[in-house]
Amino acid sequence: MPRVKVARKSTAIDMTAMCDVAFLLLTFFILTAKPKIDDPSKAEVPASIKEIQVPDENVMTIAIGKQTANKTNPLFLSFSGTDVRTETLKAMGEIYKVSFTPAEINRFSNTELFGVPMNQMKNFLSTPTNDVAKFPQSGIPADTTNNNELFNWIINARKAQVGLHGKIYAIAIKGDRLQEYPVVNTVISVLEHQKQFKFDLITTLRKAAKK
């Protein structure tokens, strides 16, 4: 009896098309990539129906983190531009009489978001990169007067931005939803002291109304 021979098909598939698609997607993701920055403020933003886009660049964000166990309200600041950050740190060093080494300045210029008081800034900038996430960032001190650290950070950053790029920062506030109003009021009044009256409150999009 003759055996029925099953024709052996090659397992090799033509992968050209798959490869094309894969690289197309890869190109798309590389070009649109904007690395996630680790947000130590852990702010959970409230929801609203407004959908105004926060600009990608030329923006300064003040993050109001969750209230900690010992009733402190961590305030964080983030502003774009490595050169602006360099200038701002130098100006802040002069005000608070802290001198920074070039390495520390370089480190700060690459820090997207920070929330440490000036007296801990040197420590913060000298912690090894791997341990930064564990560094207890207690927040930038602020009050409703016009001479506090948050006020000085903001005004110096804005001055540097105007000086270096001739642009004015758009200001965004990213607050934790359960944070109490007085803290928000402090941040707003700090901005009001600088004659900044327009802000973007970062929110998530509200889901369809529950019925």
């Binding site: 490869c19 993701f29 990539a33 996630k36 409230p46 359960l178 009001e192 409150l201 929110t203 109304a209």
Partner: protein, 179 residues
């Protein structure tokens, strides 16, 4: 033909010498693997959803402009208290008892629409839109403030502002256990 015969000779009798045709197919498996690996990496590290925001404009308190008097009956004051509750009253403080209300479609939104319609019907155009004053107390949360502002956007209020709360209003909130 201008071909150089490098063969030993003798074997090819006048026949063309064909070089062996190598297949042009390359094994793409490794390349595809790498491409997908990179895609996965970039997908997980990028933020596709850009942050959305709501705009807030505070009044410029440094310039003293001449202010036009408005009828108190056109104002609605919303006091944000604790426990996600709020109180509102129309007109001047102390004259009408404040109503305790909640956020959301059946609470604040309904009140805003009803009061807005009432103001519109009892005042002469064009000054017949309602003016809303939002007064957050120290115990209200940021979410409460954003919700209140959001309701202003939803109900398309023309004129609203965040104002400092007065002791009288704090007292009213306290009386309801909302401070």
């Amino acid at each position: 033909m201008a071909e150089l015969d490098t063969s030993g000779g003798g074997k090819h009798k006048g026949g063309k010498i064909r070089s062996k045709k190598a297949s042009t197919r390359v094994d793409l498996t490794a390349m595809v693997d790498l491409a997908f690996l990179l895609i996965t990496f970039f997908m997980f590290t990028t933020t596709l959803n850009k942050p959305k925001a709501m705009d807030l404009t505070m009044p410029d308190n440094s310039v003293k402009t001449s202010q036009l008097p408005v009828a108190a009956s056109r104002t609605m004051t919303i006091m944000l208290g604790s426990h996600n509750k709020l109180m509102w009253y129309m007109g001047e403080p102390g004259k009408t008892p404040p109503t305790v209300d909640s956020y959301g479609p059946n609470g604040l939104r309904k009140a805003l629409i009803e009061n807005g319609n009432q103001v519109a019907s009892t005042h002469a155009a064009p000054d017949n839109f309602m003016i809303v004053l939002i007064k957050p107390s120290d115990k209200s949360t940021y979410e409460n403030l954003v919700s209140a502002l959001d309701e202003m956007n939803i109900t398309a209020m023309k004129s609203y502002a965040i104002v400092k709360i007065t002791p009288l209003e704090e007292g009213a909130l306290k009386a309801q256990g909302l401070l």
